[in-house]
């Protein structure tokens, strides 16, 4: 009998229970945090409860991709063990497995979205069958150091996989496309192959300018956004790899996107209930992982077409006959994509931008200066909120916004109240929060609006 393991599990359950009882929050990570302190080998021991597992990592799209894959797994009749709350450090993964132990169903599929910095620790002990990498962007460099370091962490974790495991890689991201080089895993490359949706702008959030193999500058035939696109090295033979799973015939609407998926053996049409090129990449990561797991294309198509995003990524809450539209922003690329979507909206918008600088948001708010804030309409009214409200207000001023259109309300709840006060019944308040601001805003909306109680739904310890 493994006493340390048993104590770890019990302590985790008690900790989780206490945290919930006293409303302390942190229920998606605290039990795991306690368990790893008591038993450092807990991940390895818990992995016995899983028959197979998939890990999804990368800067953007982890949560949406893994939620899509979770829906596909459910559609195929498998209930995944999933850290679906965006709790993507070791503690969150451990919590999700512990939560599932008591249900006493063995032989299940583990599905974990994992933070780039944590992935070597988790893969070493978990030995997943599939590792999917969405992209590598400038995100929280203050936490992880530099982009090369992030790529190195993921590459290291791929070396821990068993032979025959699959690395599902975004071929449109040059830094991701080289991750499987020289490692004994099967790469499965996904990407977009449709020049009609290529960007004709030189994107300001370009993170990738040099070849990961020889250090020479890369040249692009076209980009879809940021550094994702069709590229080749100006000096060596490195170029975008041949796609195993490709999206073609892409059509983007305000609230939907349709495309055709082509694999070496099959093709099918998909219409998503969400828009944005980034969501097509999210779908590609989920589809490719599902294919690697051997799930048939009809199941994949059915699950994706009924997919709706949750947890503040992009959702609408009704408060007093007014809509609050939440759109998570994490980094320049995501923020730019959200602003592009906003351009499709009403002409005179009320917007709350909430910037926090806690560890999960990134402690350095410099990234706001890499966002194309200048594209926000001069007729929009903006409330800057959050711990770094003042930084956001200054950014708006230097983007040329009229000072009369900028209000600074540091307190998140008061900012939401003021935003709601400014709009008519039937109108929409657009709220753009960073991660921890989103958690607090969602909690507040839960108390005043029509929203499913998040903690009750997600946590069962």
């Amino acid at each position: 009998m493994d006493i340390r393991y048993l104590i770890a599990i019990e302590a985790a359950k008690i900790g989780g229970g206490l945290s919930r009882r006293f409303g302390l929050g942190g229920g998606t990570s605290l039990p795991g945090f306690i368990a790893t302190r008591v038993d450092p080998k807990i991940v390895k021991k818990l992995s016995r409860h899983l028959q197979r597992s998939v890990v999804i990592t990368g800067t953007n799209g982890k949560t949406t991709s893994s939620n899509m894959l979770a829906d596909i797994l459910v559609e195929s009749g498998q209930m995944p063990v999933h850290n679906s709350e965006g709790a993507n450090l070791v503690a969150g993964v451990v919590t999700s497995i512990i939560n599932d132990i008591k249900s006493d169903r063995r032989g299940r599929v583990g599905l974990f979205e994992i933070d780039e910095a944590t992935i070597p620790v988790v893969t070493k002990d978990l030995k997943p069958n599939v590792v999917a990498v969405t992209n590598i962007f400038r995100d929280q460099l203050d936490r992880y150091g530099e982009l090369d370091h992030m790529a190195a962490l993921i590459k290291t974790s791929l070396t821990y996989l068993r032979s025959g495991a699959t690395a599902v890689l975004n071929a449109d991201d040059p830094r991701v496309a080289t991750l499987s080089d020289g490692i004994d895993v099967d790469p499965l490359f996904f990407g977009i192959d449709d020049e009609s949706v290529a960007s004709d702008l030189v994107d300001v959030a370009r993170d990738e300018s040099v070849c990961a193999k020889c250090g020479s500058p890369l040249t692009y035939d076209h980009t879809y956004y940021a550094h994702l696109g069709k590229y080749r090295c100006s000096a060596c033979d490195f170029m975008k790899p041949k796609l195993d799973v490709r999206a073609t015939n892409v059509m983007l609407g305000l609230d939907r996107a349709s495309f055709r998926i082509e694999t070496p053996s099959d093709y099918f049409e998909v219409t998503l209930k969400i828009s944005g090129l980034y969501n097509i990449y999210n779908a590609l990561a989920a589809i490719s992982s599902a294919i690697a797991l051997g799930i048939d294309v009809n199941t994949i198509k059915r699950a994706l077409e009924s997919f709706t995003p949750t947890f503040g990524r992009l959702e609408t809450v009704i408060v007093d006959d007014k809509s609050v539209h939440l759109m998570l922003i994490k980094n320049p690329t995501g923020f730019n994509q959200v602003l592009k979507t906003l351009e499709l909206g009403d002409s005179r918008k009320e917007i709350v931008i909430a910037i926090n600088d806690n560890i999960a948001d990134g402690k350095d708010v410099s990234w706001l200066w890499d966002v194309d804030i200048e594209s926000i309409s001069q007729s929009d009214n903006i409330i800057a909120s959050g711990i770094r409200a003042e930084d956001m207000a200054v950014r708006l001023k230097y983007a040329g916004q009229d000072l009369d259109n900028i209000t600074t309300i540091k307190n998140l709840e008061k900012a939401i109240d003021e935003g709601l006060r400014r709009i008519e019944k039937g109108a929409t308040l657009y709220v753009l929060p960073t991660y921890t601001a989103m958690l607090d805003i969602r909690k507040y909306l839960e108390s005043i609006g029509d929203i499913e109680a998040f903690w009750n739904r997600e946590v069962s310890v």
Binding site: D370, E390, V394, L403, T408
Partner: protein, 257 residues
């Protein structure tokens, strides 16, 4: 209308922490002061004419980006030194700051020779120095505070031929041990601070503009601007630096996410 010209070195490559915010700040404040600012991006292989610019800016990059430009930067050493000696207002941040010194020694690649405007050298350390910074800086005879965010593992040691930019009040500074941050040689300022640096320190932006005006027009009057938002952000950054640089407790870390 008075006009000034700004050269931005390698804007595509040296912009790791949104240093382009500094260019935006210079452009906007010039506009508000009624000055036209011409901005010229200078890429690898472009000519560097020493008598063409009133202001010069270089931002930060990773080791790899630094390697990509180090050789080209060295080929521009003579015009850059002439500009510095002639009193041109220049600002060099993080990776650019390191290469304005004599040398930078990264962990994995060979030593890069810098342009040597600052008498200093930088050696890669083991610990990354990350966090909010507050400096006490004396410029134009006034003591001011300067706020920003540092993220570097390079440790910079100043030689005798260069002065520090300021004294560290919050954060690590050049090397985490001598309490000094940045470097100043004539009108050239080097620092590790991002933020972006200039928007939250409008007095420094105006100092650079004034220096450039003085050199070109022999007078440097700037009108008073409404800096209420900038001042609030500056004060908030000081408060945040004080709050975040305390060691978080075990319990606080548990609930951080």
């Amino acid at each position: 209308m008075r006009t000034l010209s700004l050269a931005v070195l390698y804007p595509e490559i040296m912009n790791i922490y949104a240093d382009r915010g500094n260019t935006i700040a210079m452009k906007k404040r010039c506009e508000w002061h009624g000055i036209e600012l011409d901005v010229t991006g200078i890429a690898v292989g472009d000519d560097m004419e020493e008598d063409k610019y009133d202001l010069l800016f270089i931002g930060g990059g990773q080791d790899r980006e630094q390697l990509l430009i180090a050789e080209d930067l060295l080929s521009k050493k003579e015009p850059l030194k002439m500009m510095a000696d002639d009193g041109t207002a220049m600002l060099a941040i993080c990776g650019g700051f390191q290469l304005f010194g004599r040398s930078y020694e990264p962990k994995k690649s060979p030593v890069m020779e810098g342009v040597g405007i600052f008498d200093m050298k930088t050696i890669a350390g083991d610990k990354r120095m990350i966090g909010n910074v507050v400096l006490e800086v004396e410029i134009e005879g006034l003591m001011r505070s300067l706020v920003g965010f540092e993220n570097h593992s390079g440790k910079t040691i100043l030689g005798s031929g260069v002065k520090p930019l300021g004294k560290v009040i919050e954060g690590n500074g050049n090397n985490g041990s001598d309490n000094l941050e940045g470097a100043v040689y004539k009108n050239v300022i080097g620092t590790y601070l991002h933020g972006a640096l200039l928007p939250k320190n409008p007095w420094l932006t105006d100092h650079l503009i004034r220096t450039a005006l003085q050199r070109r027009y022999k007078e440097a009057d700037l009108k008073e601007l409404d800096d209420a938002l900038e001042d609030k952000a500056h004060k908030a950054a000081i408060a945040r630096a004080k709050a975040t640089n305390k060691n978080p407790s075990f319990v606080a870390r548990m609930f951080e996410r």
